[in-house]
């Protein structure tokens, strides 16, 4: 906890120095007071070692660098747009599988909580194949599926991975009718509750692939906006066009993120240099 306290202090100092510009830019939320320090009493806290963070490419494990900067840019861009519209529920998806949805969602959350005023809840809504917990090197744990199907209280399910005000809700076990589960009244109620429970809290949904399942389309109306992750050299132009056309009516698209730039030209020597 000492580490957390220290980080908190650092953020406070930062916030003090950035107070004026941030208040000026955030017109939709003029009363952005520093929320009270949350001590997660009921939420299970997990200390994830730095080696795991690095291995799972979570930016909390890295010092400043192009990778971290890229997410900071993303964070800033999203915050600008979100605050303008007063949104706080954002879904992260991609046209196909394995294009970096979970990676982007986790890292976006991690970068968002670097802003001390911001708290983030990351929900693993990919009930077909939940993977967020794996990012934190956790063994299988109960999650959203258990809440929806078995009425396990939500407080028992939330996990704080030890990064600022970052809380995530694992997916639990895989559900066969994931789209139906996501659109169940219970789920909708949960989303509503999350949305209004805390001030300056961003709720991120890690969603299944857009083109491979109906989940996203079904769940889209309950989201404020959608973030589309695209992998360089993997996602096809046609897929992006199709995805955009599909969700155009249901939910505004916040924007796109290009992931894994430079993967195809990466050499072992180049990798060594980065590591």
């Amino acid at each position: 906890m000492e580490w957390f306290q220290a980080a908190l202090d650092r953020y406070k100092q930062q916030h003090q120095s950035q107070n004026r510009p941030s208040s000026r830019s955030a017109r939709s939320q003029p009363m952005r007071a520093v929320p009270a320090t949350i001590v997660y009493t009921r939420t299970r806290s997990v200390q994830v070692p730095e080696s795991v963070l690095r291995e799972q490419r979570i930016l909390a494990g890295f010092d400043a660098g192009p990778f971290v900067d890229a997410f900071k840019i993303l964070r800033t861009q999203i915050l600008h747009r979100v605050r303008e519209k007063g949104w706080n529920v954002i879904g992260v998806t991609s046209p196909g599988a394995g294009e970096g949805k979970t990676f982007t969602a986790v890292n976006l959350a991690a970068s968002l909580v670097m802003d001390v005023t911001q708290s983030v809840l990351l929900v693993d809504a990919n009930l077909r194949h939940p993977t967020v917990h794996e990012m934190f090197d956790l063994k299988s744990c109960r999650g959203l599926a258990d809440y929806l199907l078995d009425d396990v209280p939500i407080e028992q399910l939330l996990i704080n991975p030890g990064i600022g005000r970052f809380v995530f809700l694992p997916g639990g076990h895989a559900v066969s009718h994931s789209a139906e589960a996501l659109t169940s009244p219970k789920m909708i109620a949960l989303v509503e509750e999350f949305k209004h429970r805390y001030q300056s809290r961003m709720i991120l949904f890690d969603l299944p692939p857009l083109l491979e399942a109906s989940d996203v389309l079904a769940f889209a109306p309950y989201l404020d906006a959608l973030l589309l992750v695209v992998q360089e050299g993997r996602t096809k132009v046609e897929d992006v066009e199709r995805s955009l056309a599909l969700v155009k009516q249901a939910v505004p698209v916040l924007g796109t993120v290009v992931n894994k730039i430079g993967y195809s030209t990466a050499t072992p020597d180049g990798m060594k240099k980065i590591l």
Binding site: Q56, R57, F67, F71, G100, K236, N259, I261, M271, L275
Partner: protein
């Protein structure tokens, strides 16, 4: 608007960096395609069977005797002739003979048809003409003239190439000589035949003409002036003769008149002035006296005997026989007297009897003389003047006779000529046709004869090999290095091809790959730049994985090469042999 401008900008600024990125991205594909192509080309360069080419160069020499002096009967162009000879040499039968002689394409012959083998053989034979720019002597224009040609043969074995090229060269040279000689001979033979035909024709015409001339009998148109001249001459001659005849007639008449006035015998006078009878007159008188006495006296009367002796002597002297005419006249006279006497005196009167006896005696005498040869009365004129005139008369008469005869002949001649001249016009057309035919034929014959002579000279030119001829200036040699393939060139080409193939493969891959590579592509799709571009962040596992993959690939590549070499060594040729063979093939010993 800005959104529209930007993509254009981005497209127009495709720079070296982008290409480098593409290269980086596609280097595997590039490397793979290039190495495959390179391997293929090197393999092809090494494995391509060598072809050896043996070439003979044959010069076309102009004829040695200047063409102004002796024209050759062979006037076709050299390359045309080469082509002709090529066709003759490359006939199936002769080529097949060569194939069998040298045992070419033994493998192919077992499996393919004769046709294919011949086709292949023809493909391996090359005949090329070598031309030079020359100036035509007659037209002063620059033209191309064929001065030489080459005969080559391609084969996998240098010795075979040389031997077959040699054989082909021999065939070409032989065929040329044969064809030239044959051509020259054919010309001569043809001309000879023509000349013979024409000669025969002329002979026929000549015979016809001769017959015609014979039939025309001097009435030929060409003899017309001569005939006219001769006729004139004859005419003149005739007139001349007439003149002469007339004058001779006159003279004859005159002479006859003269002669009539002169007595042939001049009387000889005795001293008594009595005329002396010459023996002839005496004989005549005696005979007359004898006839009277014989009637009065018996035959054995001495007077009669005396008279008889005298007559005989005179007859001997003069050679005159008693003249039967005279006796016959006396007989007739006596008979007339007898008749008168008989009428007057009666039968038994002595005078009548006397007369009867006289007649009988005269008849006896007549019979006697008649039985002996009647000798002409030799009446020799004595008068010189008479003799002279008679001689003149005689000559005139004989001249006249001669002139008359000759006039007859001249007249006949004249008629003859006239007839000829009359006949000439009707003969003329036929004759002209015949002569014209003969003339033209003869002219043609002359012409052909002269040409035949020329052709014979030309044939001599060919037979003695003094005409245009092919001389082998460069006999087919033993090829030392293969003509094909140019292995270095193939390898070089292979390198270029490999590069191009690599680039092409990359371009193709890039073209087929529709995945998103740059933020600009997203801009085009979503009308907005991506919110963030997240660089690839490798972790240890990725690095280890990449390293592992790299070492695996290296190992795999080495292993594949080793395996290939091993297979080659075990199943094909030992590697050291391959190495040295490869070195040799590329010309490095």
């Amino acid at each position: 608007m800005a959104d529209h401008r930007r993509p254009q900008e981005s497209e127009s600024t495709v720079n070296l960096r982008d290409y480098l990125t593409v290269f980086q991205r596609r280097k595997t594909v590039i490397f793979f395609a290039a190495s495959v192509l390179l391997c293929l080309s090197v393999t092809a360069a090494v494995l391509w069977p060598a072809t050896y080419k043996s070439t003979a160069t044959i010069l076309i020499e102009e004829q040695e005797v200047p063409a102004e002096l002796v024209h050759s009967t062979i006037t076709s162009f050299a390359d045309q002739r080469i082509e002709m000879i090529k066709q003759q040499v490359m006939s199936r039968s002769s080529l097949w003979k060569v194939v069998e002689q040298y045992d070419l394409y033994s493998g192919m012959r077992r499996n393919s048809t004769t046709e294919d083998v011949i086709k292949r053989f023809i493909k391996d034979i090359e005949v090329e003409v070598i031309s030079a720019d020359v100036i035509d002597k007659r037209t002063q224009h620059a033209t191309k003239a064929t001065i030489a040609f080459t005969v080559s043969y391609n084969s996998g074995m240098p010795e075979t190439a040389q031997r077959v090229a040699n054989e082909l060269t021999t065939l070409f040279l032989g065929e040329n000589l044969k064809s030239r000689e044959r051509q020259a001979q054919e010309t001569t033979t043809f001309l000879k035949q023509e000349a013979e035909n024409l000669g025969q024709h002329i002979e026929e015409i000549e015979a016809k003409l001769a017959k015609f001339k014979q039939r025309a009998n001097g009435a030929l148109p060409e003899l017309m002036p001569l005939n006219l001249q001769l006729m004139n001459q004859a005419d003149r001659e005739l007139m001349d003769l007439d003149q002469q005849i007339r004058s001779l007639e006159e003279r004859k008449t005159y002479l006859e008149g003269e002669l009539a006035t002169i007595k042939p015998n001049t009387p000889i006078m005795s001293v008594t002035g009595e005329r002396i009878l010459d023996s002839l007159e005496r004989l005549r008188a005696l005979r007359a006296e004898y006839a009277g006495n014989a009637a009065t006296f018996s035959p054995d009367h001495p007077d009669i005997i005396k008279m008889k002796q005298e007559i005989a002597a005179l007859e001997r002297e003069t050679g005159m026989k008693p003249e039967s005419e005279e006796i016959a006249k006396q007989v007739i006279d006596a008979r007339a007297g007898l008749a008168t006497l008989t009428d007057r005196l009666g039968q038994d009167h002595p005078d009548v009897l006397q007369a009867k006896r006289t007649i009988a005696g005269l008849e006896r005498e007549l019979r006697r003389i008649g039985s002996t040869a009647t000798s002409k009365l030799l009446q020799r004129p004595e008068n010189p003047a008479y003799i002279n005139i008679q001689a003149q008369l005689n000559s005139a008469v004989s001249s006249l006779e001669a002139l008359k005869t000759s006039r007859m002949s001249v007249k006949k001649r004249l008629q003859d000529y006239a007839k000829r001249i009359e006949r000439t016009p009707e003969i003329e057309p036929d004759y002209l046709v015949l002569t014209r035919d003969r003339d033209t034929s003869a002219q043609k014959y002359q012409d052909i004869r002269s040409r035949l002579l020329e052709a014979k000279v030309s044939e001599g030119l060919e037979v003695q090999r003094k005409g245009e001829r092919f001389s082998l200036i460069d006999p087919p040699g033993l090829p030392e290095s293969p003509e094909k393939p140019n292995r270095k060139a193939i390898v070089l080409l292979g390198c270029i091809l490999a590069l191009a193939g690599g680039v092409g493969a990359a371009a193709l891959a890039e073209h087929l790959d529709h995945s998103i590579r740059t933020p600009e592509q997203l801009l085009r799709v979503t009308q907005a730049f991506p919110l963030a571009v997240i660089p690839y962040m490798p972790n240890r596992a990725d690095l280890a994985c990449a390293l592992r993959r790299r070492s695996r690939m290296r190992l795999g590549g080495l292993g594949a090469i080793a395996l290939l070499l091993l297979l080659c060594h075990l199943f094909w040729t030992p590697l050291d042999v391959v190495w040295y063979a490869t070195l040799r093939r590329f010309g490095i010993e």
